[in-house]
C-alpha cells in the first residue's frame, strides 16, 4: 500500500511540479505584488502599500467602466451564443443534403487563431473597402466603427459570435447525440408536440452540457483580448475597453505593477466566484439527472 502511494506521487510529481511552477507561483507573486506600490521604471524603490491598491481599484472610474463593459459583453455573447448554438445543433440533427459540408464550414472559425480573426475582421469592416460598410451603405446606414462607439461594441460581439458559436454547436451536438432514446419514445407515445419534447425532454437532459458550455464561455468571454485588441484596441475612446484590454493598457502605459496586480487579482476572484457557483449548479444538476 505504501509502495503504491509512493508510485502514485512519483507519477503525478512532474505534472504537479509544472502546475505549481506556472500556475501557483505566479498567483502567489501577484498576491505579493498587489500589496506594494511598484513601478519598474520609477526611481523610488518598491514600497509596502497594504490595501491601498484595492482602495484605489474600487474608486477607479475607468476600471469600473471597463468592468461594466466586460460584464455586458459576457452577458450579450453568452446570451446569444447559447440559444443560437442550441438551435443550429438541433438543425444539424436533421438529415439534409450537404450536411457534412455545412458542418465542416461551420467549424472552420474554430481552427483559426483569434489574432488572425481580428486582422481579418479589420479588413472586412474597413470603411473604405470592407464588404460590411459597403452593404450597410446600400441600406442607408453609415458604418464606421472607428468613430461610432455603439458600432464598435456590437462589432466585437458579432466577431465573438462568429468565432465561438461553432464551439457551442459542437458541444451541444455531442450532448444531443449522447441522449438516451427512451424519454423521446415515451414523449411520442404520450402525444407530445415537437416543442413540448424539446422543452420538457431535451432541455432538462441537456442541462449539464448547457451549464458546462456556459461555464467555458463565461471564462473565455470575460478574458477576451486578441480579437478586440486587433479590431479596435479598446476604442473608439473607451467603448470596447474590456477588463483585459484595460489591464494590458495599464501595464504597458503606466507600468504600475502593484496596482495592475491588484486588478488581476480582483478579476481572478470574480472569475473563480462565477465558476464556483456554476460548478455547484453543474454538479447538483448531474446528481439530479
Amino acid at each position: 500500500m505504501k509502495e503504491d502511494k509512493k508510485q502514485v506521487w512519483g507519477l503525478i510529481a512532474p505534472a504537479l511540479f509544472i502546475m505549481i511552477l506556472i500556475g501557483v507561483i505566479p498567483v502567489l507573486y501577484i498576491i505579493y505584488l498587489s500589496a506594494f506600490k511598484y513601478n519598474v521604471f520609477a526611481k523610488v524603490p518598491m514600497r509596502y502599500a497594504g490595501f491601498d491598491n484595492f482602495r484605489k481599484l474600487v474608486f477607479d472610474p475607468d476600471f469600473l467602466k471597463s468592468l461594466r463593459l466586460g460584464l455586458t459583453f459576457v452577458a450579450l455573447c453568452c446570451g446569444i451564443e447559447l440559444p443560437l448554438g442550441l438551435f443550429i445543433a438541433n438543425l444539424l440533427t436533421l438529415n439534409f443534403k450537404g450536411k457534412g459540408i455545412f458542418r465542416t464550414i461551420l467549424t472552420l472559425p474554430l481552427a483559426m487563431a483569434p489574432i488572425t480573426i481580428g486582422s481579418m475582421w479589420v479588413l472586412i469592416t474597413n470603411p473604405d473597402f470592407g464588404p460590411v460598410p459597403f452593404l450597410f451603405r446600400k441600406i442607408g446606414i453609415e458604418y464606421n466603427m472607428g468613430i461610432s462607439a455603439n458600432q464598435a461594441f456590437f462589432t466585437t460581439i458579432l466577431v465573438d459570435l462568429w468565432h465561438w458559436t461553432p464551439f457551442v454547436v459542437l458541444t451541444f451536438m455531442a450532448g444531443l447525440s449522447s441522449l438516451p432514446n427512451q424519454p423521446y419514445e415515451a414523449a411520442l407515445v404520450d402525444g407530445a408536440t415537437r416543442w413540448q419534447t424539446f422543452r420538457y425532454v431535451t432541455i432538462p437532459l441537456l442541462k449539464p452540457v448547457i451549464l458546462t458550455t456556459l461555464f467555458i464561455r463565461i471564462m473565455d468571454t470575460f478574458r477576451v483580448f486578441d480579437e478586440v485588441w486587433m479590431l479596435t484596441s479598446g476604442g473608439p475612446g473607451t467603448a470596447t475597453r474590456y477588463v483585459s484590454i484595460h489591464l494590458v493598457r495599464l501595464v504597458l502605459q503606466s507600468m504600475e505593477y502593484g496596482y495592475s496586480s491588484a486588478m488581476s487579482l480582483f478579476l481572478l476572484y470574480l472569475t473563480i466566484i462565477i465558476c464556483f457557483f456554476l460548478l455547484t449548479f453543474i454538479s447538483s444538476s448531474r446528481e439530479a439527472a
Partner: protein, 56 residues
Amino acid sequence: MRIFPFKTNLWDRFFFGISIMFALHLFWVRFVEAYVPLYVATAGSLVFLAVLVITG
C-alpha cells in the same frame, strides 16, 4: 445549525469564507471606511470565517 443549504466540506467552507471576506473588505473600503475603520471589517470577517468553518 447549518449556514449553507447544501452539503459542504471543510475546503468549501474555507473557500466561501475567504471569498466573502475579500468581498466584504472591498465593500467596506468603497462605502463604509469613511465612517468606520477597515480593522472592524477584518475582525468581523475573521469571526465570521471561524463560525463558517466550524458550523458549515
